[in-house]
């Protein structure tokens, strides 16, 4: 599904990622952990194609094709989704309108009939239920006035509506209360199947209690310095990162 090969990424002239290798197979869930500033979000941004995140060396292969030259929306249409660590507020743009535009872009790409306002409302209602979100959030501007947790739920809602095959969850669990954490984890578990993969970035072992990663990676200074099973997360929780750095 996703193969990251010796990936070097520069942001505004600053080298952040120093040769990342990653291989996520269909149906797998990978967790990435690491200190603040180690480059986790940079990796997510590079995979989703954010401007100014330039790949200076290495490659990102998705479904057997290099995607580094692709526009962000082309990557999204091909099935890549990122739940933002800090979801963007878009004043003046209605949440329903935005979500419908996104879903219709995908449907058009898949040569499916686009939703009109009424049929989209029906479609989105069922998704709202899954993330236990009130429909009043659809009437507001995108993420405007949303609390931290509400923004994360809105990200999850978008994921469910867009049905990606590769979902990158950048600290979707941060700032969630226990109930919300359970809802999001349940959403991830229900969504996951043999064709859908997850790359989950987290600081907390507690998330990994609810969702079971196949592999846990430790990212330090723009490099993956250790990979292992879920027990690695437990070890990190106990000992911190310092034992790995030397």
């Amino acid at each position: 599904m996703l193969e990251v090969k010796n990936l070097h990424v520069e942001v505004e002239g600053k080298q952040i990622l120093n040769g990342i290798d990653l291989n996520v197979k269909p149906g797998e869930m990978h967790a990435i952990m690491g200190l603040n500033g180690s480059g986790k979000s940079t990796l997510s941004n590079a995979i989703t194609g954010r401007e100014n995140y330039s790949v200076t060396k290495g490659d990102i292969i998705y479904k057997n094709e290099s995607i580094v030259e692709m526009e962000p929306n082309e990557r999204a249409l091909a099935g890549i989704f990122m739940s933002f660590q800090y979801p963007t507020v878009i004043p003046g743009v209605n949440n329903t309108y935005f979500l419908r535009a996104a879903v219709n872009a995908k449907r058009k790409y898949n040569k499916q009939k686009e939703y009109d306002a009424a049929s989209f409302l029906k479609f989105v209602k069922s998704k709202l239920k899954e993330v236990e979100m009130d429909s009043k959030y659809l009437k507001r501007a995108v993420n405007e006035g949303f609390s931290g947790g509400e923004k994360k739920r809105n990200e999850m809602l978008q994921l469910l509506c867009l049905e990606p095959e590769l979902a990158i969850m950048d600290e979707t669990d941060s700032g969630l209360d226990i109930d919300a954490l359970k809802i999001i984890s349940k959403g991830i578990n229900n969504y996951k199947n043999k064709d859908r993969s997850f790359l989950v970035i987290t600081h907390y072992q507690r998330l990994l209690k609810y969702i079971e990663p196949d592999v846990v990676h430790v990212l330090i200074d723009g490099k993956i310095i250790k990979s292992g099973g879920k027990e690695l997360a437990l070890e990190l929780e106990e000992k911190g990162y310092s034992w790995l750095e030397s």
Binding site: G49, N73, R75, F84, T88, I90, A105, Q158
Partner: protein, 418 residues
């Protein structure tokens, strides 16, 4: 054109047979004041951002009746459903497409007979308007009348030459009455200069919704002075759309002369190429308990430029004034330029005043967020610009007018987001 060209136009006008002699002395006096001041230059403080070379390099003349003889402009593009349409051709010929309710009167006077120099401000363009205006349009409502359907006044200018018109519009909203008036300016001449003065008086407990649409070719200059006087408990809502024209300038003076009056001014400028739009406002609070709002936005593409110069004066006796000024501008190109200058002048102590101004490019974070959801850059851009302007247009209460303004916006966007 230069001052002697204006002199020629003036001489032609007052020597017309059909023209009333009664007003001649004061008109001559007004015109000589204009000659004394001359047209503004960029050395004048209030004109330093505005280039008037468009007026200087074209030669405009006042239209003759023969200019409008070869049929009319197709107005289908300018029709707004469920309005009374009043068509003013070349400044004076009046047709009303539908029956106006008897509570409202619209009349023109094309011989200048009842003309009085109304140049409340001795600015060059107001003086020019007062001297060259060959017709006045007067709109009056009866007291206690509530006129639901908007009155749509379409100023059409047609002819083969470079023409100028100097309409003077007097609006009198009598006590406890309400009306919606839409002013729109359209031309098909090779180049066009329109210099309008509007005087609105809103009496006690009355309300006026006023919409002005400047939509014209790149060969148009729209200059307008708007003077509003409000009595106790009156409401004035103004919205202007500028979506074309080489040069557009609005000078707005609102006088809150009564207590508990509300004055809300808003506007949207959609500019591209070398277009220029400038809005200068003075909201003058004279009495207590009044509200004044200024909410203006521009979207600038190409090498367009804009000015927002909004002032609120809160005088000593105007306690409990609530005044807000906001100016937000979106720059779609690196060459576009905006000068934003909201100002407050406060002489009373118990007041609530706020002002703010932002100018910037499209939010890259928001664009990426949308693109990361599969929306292409062009559509994401459209959504963002629409989001930026819709807050203003959504405030328009009349649905048909709102739809029409959105239609104009969509058209503009179609040409400016490719």
């Amino acid at each position: 054109m230069n001052l002697s060209d204006y002199q020629n136009e003036f001489d032609n006008l007052i020597s017309k047979q059909s023209f009333s002699a009664v007003s001649q002395p004061s008109r001559k006096d007004t015109f000589s004041k204009f000659l004394d001041s001359g047209l503004p230059t960029r050395k004048w403080e209030d004109w330093r951002h505005t280039d008037l070379s468009f007026l200087n390099k074209n030669n405009f003349r006042i239209p003759e009746s023969s200019d409008a003889s070869d049929g009319s402009i197709d107005i289908s593009n300018y029709e707004i459903p469920n309005t009374f349409t009043v068509i003013i051709i070349n400044g004076h010929y009046l047709t009303i497409n539908s029956d106006l309710p008897k509570e409202i009167t619209v009349s023109t006077n094309s011989n200048g007979e009842n003309w009085t120099p109304k140049n409340k401000k001795d600015t060059p363009f107001e003086l020019l308007n007062a001297s060259l205006s060959d017709s006045t349009i007067t709109i009056t409502t009866e007291p206690n009348a509530s006129i639901q359907k908007p009155i749509h006044i379409l100023f059409l200018c047609t002819g083969n030459d470079d023409l100028m018109i100097n309409p003077q519009v007097n609006i009198d909203i009598s006590h406890s009455s309400s009306a919606t008036i839409i002013e729109q300016y359209v031309s098909n001449t090779s180049s066009f200069f329109q210099n309008t003065s509007v005087f609105a008086s809103i009496e006690k407990n009355a309300s006026l919704n006023h919409v002005r649409i400047h939509s014209n070719s790149d060969q148009t200059a729209n200059i307008s002075g708007l003077h509003v006087t409000q009595s106790d408990d009156s409401t004035y809502n103004y919205f202007q759309l500028v979506d074309g024209g080489a040069l557009q300038r609005s000078d707005i003076y609102t006088n809150l002369k009564g207590k508990n009056a509300t004055c809300s001014l808003s506007g949207l400028a959609l500019l591209d190429k070398k277009q220029h739009s400038a809005t200068y406002i003075i909201s003058d609070h004279i009495m207590p308990n009044c509200v004044s709002l200024q909410n203006f936005k521009s979207v600038l593409n190409g090498s367009a430029s804009g000015v927002f110069n909004g002032r609120a004066i809160v005088r000593e006796d105007s306690q409990k004034t609530d005044s807000k000024q906001s100016n937000k501008n979106l720059l779609l190109s690196d060459q576009a330029l905006m000068n934003s200058n909201p100002q407050l002048e406060i002489y009373a102590d118990d007041v609530k005043c706020a002002h703010g101004s932002t100018t910037g490019a499209l939010d890259k974070e928001a664009l990426f967020y949308m693109q990361s959801r599969g929306i292409n850059k062009k559509e994401a851009t459209s959504l963002l610009i629409r989001g930026f302007v819709s807050e203003l247009i959504n405030d328009i209460k009349n649905e048909d007018v709102k739809d029409y303004l959105f239609e104009k916006f969509d058209n503009w966007l179609l040409n400016n987001n490719q």
